[in-house]
Symmetry: D2
Subunit: 378 residues, 4 copies
């Protein structure tokens, strides 16, 4: 066994939800060791958090960290960026320019300008950029992608994707709600940015088709909210499929209901994130089949990211861990001279696609849901 890679973290101090998730995900397969961090934009908070996590090296700013770690013999192999969205670009650029691989939370950035700026740096950089669209890590999502690529569904026709939550159904305060409903920190999209990008990404990842046109009707149902908390979007894909995307953070009774349904000329697939070990597959004219992770119908693409046998459910953290372990594999290959890139893992292109998606939703909605054209391959 090769030694664990060394991981740094920017953001993710005390009470941060997603930072803790990244740390667990990085540990699950034993491929990463967290050794350094700039865990908060408040230096004292950063130091306290680092101490609580037993980090040997704590920095006051990500800038210092990038420079210092790059200079160390045993500096970090990669950094996880888990700050609010508006910090992503500058932090990622600092590390990419220092030659340190970046694993960044989504969406890519809070603005189109930041996204383009970061993309430019990433393309010129001698380091990888991986975006944690973690839902692409689920085994049955990998299977769905594989089945579609294999032609099992025939020509794709209809893509229904939705992501419903209810935690913003009323005015909320608290760290999590706070920055996510502040356009200066989250970007112009509210639900579209926070969860719509996941839905958009998942649809593209699984179908292998890209959204080239959309018409979006965005709402902010909670009084005083500055960003959308619900969005209805019609989609047209470059491969001919049509679809609908619904994201909502006010759909009472939904916890984290990301759901994807894809229908083609030869079959249909249905998947729900809250029950991620199941994939429903119907070949046209035959009974519906329940494919299970680790079960009789699971294929190589799913089995490659499966740890436990069928019926021993894997969950959100294992799906997220598949991104981290995939990143470790990719970085080791990179270090060994293989510069082919991220493989199946989302990167800059997917990140740009997401930011363009948010921007297109906002622009379309501002024009009363007029169609907006997207660059399919940013």
């Amino acid at each position: 066994m090769t030694k664990p890679l060394k991981l740094g973290m920017v953001g993710g101090g005390k009470d941060a939800f997603i930072g803790a998730v990244h740390r667990i995900a990085s540990r699950i397969d034993g491929q990463w060791e967290l050794v350094a961090g700039a865990l908060s934009s408040t230096p004292e908070r950063a130091r306290n958090s680092a101490q609580a996590l037993g980090l040997t090296r704590s920095y006051d700013t990500f800038g210092e960290m990038a420079v210092a770690e790059a200079a160390l013999d045993d500096g970090i192999d990669a950094v996880a960026i888990v700050t609010p969205n508006h910090v992503h670009a500058d932090a990622a650029i600092a590390f990419l320019q220092a030659g340190i691989h970046v694993i960044c939370d989504k969406p890519l950035t809070a603005t189109i300008d930041d996204a383009n700026r970061l993309a430019q740096v990433a393309r010129e950089s001698d380091a990888m950029f991986i975006l944690t669209h973690n839902y692409t890590g689920y085994p049955m999502i990998r299977q769905a992608r594989d089945m579609i690529a294999n032609g099992d569904l025939g020509d794709l026709r209809v893509v229904q994707v939705e992501y419903a939550q209810d935690w913003l159904a009323e005015e909320t305060d608290g760290k999590q709600a706070d920055w996510r409903t502040d356009p200066n920190r989250s970007g112009a999209g509210g639900s579209t940015g926070d969860i719509g990008t996941h839905a958009h990404n998942l649809a593209q990842f699984v179908t292998g088709q890209n959204v080239t046109q959309l018409a979006a009707d965005l709402q902010a149902f909670v009084a005083g909210r500055l960003v959308d908390d619900n969005a209805h979007v019609m989609l047209r894909f470059d491969g001919g499929a049509r679809g609908m995307l619904w994201c909502s953070q006010v759909a009472v009774g939904n916890e984290n209901a990301l759901r994807l349904r894809v229908y083609g000329s030869k079959g249909g697939l249905e998947w729900a994130q809250e029950d991620p070990n199941y994939l429903w597959y119907t070949p046209f004219g035959q009974p519906k089949q329940l494919l299970t992770r680790g079960g009789a119908g699971a294929r190589d693409a799913a089995n490659a990211v499966t740890r436990t046998p069928g019926g021993h459910p894997e969950g959100y953290l294992e799906g997220f861990a598949n991104i981290y372990s995939g990143a470790a594999d990719a970085i080791r290959a990179w270090n060994a001279g293989n510069r082919d890139g991220n493989g199946v893992l989302p990167g800059i292109r997917e990140g740009l696609s997401g930011v363009y998606f948010i921007d297109a939703c906002v622009r379309s909605s501002a024009q009363d849901a007029a169609w907006v054209t997207l660059d399919a391959t940013p």
Copy 2:
């Protein structure tokens, strides 16, 4: 017990799916006796079908039937019209003008002109017009409507309604597919007319709000098909709710998947036609509850149309029967001098609304999904 009412039928000869459904639905509660019919546009076929059903009075045309039955002392109390859509208007008009109550299958007519013509007659007629939007007959749908009217969901925000099937996923022949994909008989809408109208009606029935604007993207995925077989529609309601309607007859793996989800400021409701005895209710901030037909949380509105205790599932035919039994009640009240109308049962207004919905979808789609305004109270 009052005696069963006398029912006639137009259409519904051999091999007709919906005619047989209407007949069973009329029998379930013992409120109707089928005694006369013009069961086919082909006289010989009409007679054979009548004989097979043991009907005492068979007519070659609905015109003859309307005149003859009106003249009989024991003539029919109402006629069920279960022909292809393009016949609805003329048949219904014939009976309404003869003073015979009409129970008509949906959509109201194949064209806007027919719809307006029929509506005019219906309004002037001394007979009732009832439209079998049968899904409104399900007890848990009645309960959902009651809960919303009662304010349990607070201000409605989001309405997600969909109706997915797959039986037209490939080119099909056979009587059922044949006329449904022929615009001359079904009208300009394909899936929008056949099932989209059910979804549209159900959303309005349950929410008590009407769609006033829609933007529709219609597709005909099967080569050579002249009407839509899939439709994505964004909805705006007069009470402030926003929504999405998806109907499809090419969604492989879906049999008859009509599903309604409504979210308000105080709670959410979710219902699926294929499992109609369940209604999921989440009061905001509390655990999700599974309300069951006949169960602990069932209310008067549901119990009034419930025959069996909880756990003894009622289905499609009982839901349909609730329309017929409701019609019998309404007709008896009418005959007793109460001219208040259909009560909760769909009628001309709902029929017009459905035809306008189809027309608006087709027009919107022809303009690349531009918003089209609908008359909320036709």
Copy 3:
């Protein structure tokens, strides 16, 4: 179409649950017309109920009714007996001896002696005896039976059957609870008699194997209750399968949860009464399949008792109607000279098997769950 058969009813007056169910079931397919009744053991109540139902002929006692109807030219073709259990034997005997076919609710009788006495008469009678083990009428139950008979499951190994309710979880009064917890009227079995017999019958019907040994542990959890309200039973079948039967009327959260699971060397089947349109089938080593009533995997045995297409759910009343319509077919065949008997419909043999089952449960439990041997083919 042949004319409807004429039906009489014993029991089933006002407020009786199962009488109303029988009446609806008899109407659904238009094969029966209810014309006569002795609807209550209280003559005035009988007459009032008959009037409320519009019955032309009302009798004060079933004895009078049997004699009188047999003498009429247009007397009833069959009688439905829907009284409390202790009346079944005498009533059925009266009609069988009058040459009138009997459709009787389960369990067959309240006592073994009554059961044997009735069986003797039935065997010598020139009339049919049909027992409404209505759950055998569900299409997917017919399919399960057919698949097993066809060898799709290989050698049967394990049969798990359960029937859980909660309506007797506390002391209850009311007509329904009253006689069901009175051993003089219901028989020695409480939950075993009321619902355990359904579970036992269903297991035998579907597997084609008979229980030859059982060991039962019966409880009466509610203080003062004179009959069991919960039972655990281990089963051994004549074909080599082993099983478990659980029935309970105190399992809080269960409405009418009859569930059957059968596992063989080549496959497994799972079915739940509350969602009766689904049958889960797993061929060993392959993905689980969801077979649906009217769907792609439905076979002739199911389709023969199916009215609506897949996704248009049929329920409890349609399953019950399949017994009535099957009875009509059998009686017409009988009248035409075919004396082969009930076909797939439960009759005296199944009735005896049920009463012996109750008796064996009570005897086993009295001996601390010792094994008791049953006559497999009574």
Copy 4:
């Protein structure tokens, strides 16, 4: 943050299923670092496995390991024993006698004698013994236990527990099947030992009642199999509840279907391991509630072992990790002088209870399912 504890492992070499699970579980919360092992009974295989895992200290036998690690300043804090069952006792004794805490896979041992021998040592030892009945680690299982302890279900009446798999439905070879069907290595119980003990433990853990009598009917359906592959067991609990346990490794279509249902005078609870984030709760006379991990109805007992918000599913590995993290907490408390023991974690008493359960099943079945009495508090 305190430093991770140091973990050793006995067994769990290449291709071992459960060893890998223990390693992941120990890593998830960052509380453990695996540093030493005797990973196989074959020394070369042990060394290769250690190298593959990057272990710094590899031993040929567990005996050497116990002595050597106890002598080291930075020796292991605890050892995980993940061998086949027949090795558990000797290995655990070696470490307990060396003063090293033991985390041992279930069942406790292969024989009663071994179990008693180990229990004796454990009671006299100055080290803790923790048994990985991992299903007790699921948050919603902790919640169920808490609700019952809190009286929410009233007096418990009925406990239905089952654990169904199908991977031994045919003759199988391979390392996993091999030792599990060899009584010399697995013990006298087949399915009863491998999975029945989990079901038995879970029922006792959640209800707080112990099984004091059981009657078991065991089968070996696959020809030539020396241990049971299916078992039906009737249960009587010391608190008055009655129950049934079914375990099977030949139930085709079941992957890892551990399911628990508990019914009391005031409510019912239902849980299924394959969908572990859900707990169904019905207060008598009210609608069923879906309690979710991290959701509105989740209580402290569940939240204390929850990492992600509702709708972000945790699974088998997180449940298992809760045992490891609980063990770390307990060991730290122990080291700090708190000798109160395992808290909620299963230990020797639960281990003995499981081995006695297997023995009682085998003895009961040998006597044709006669009742066997168990020591409720071993």
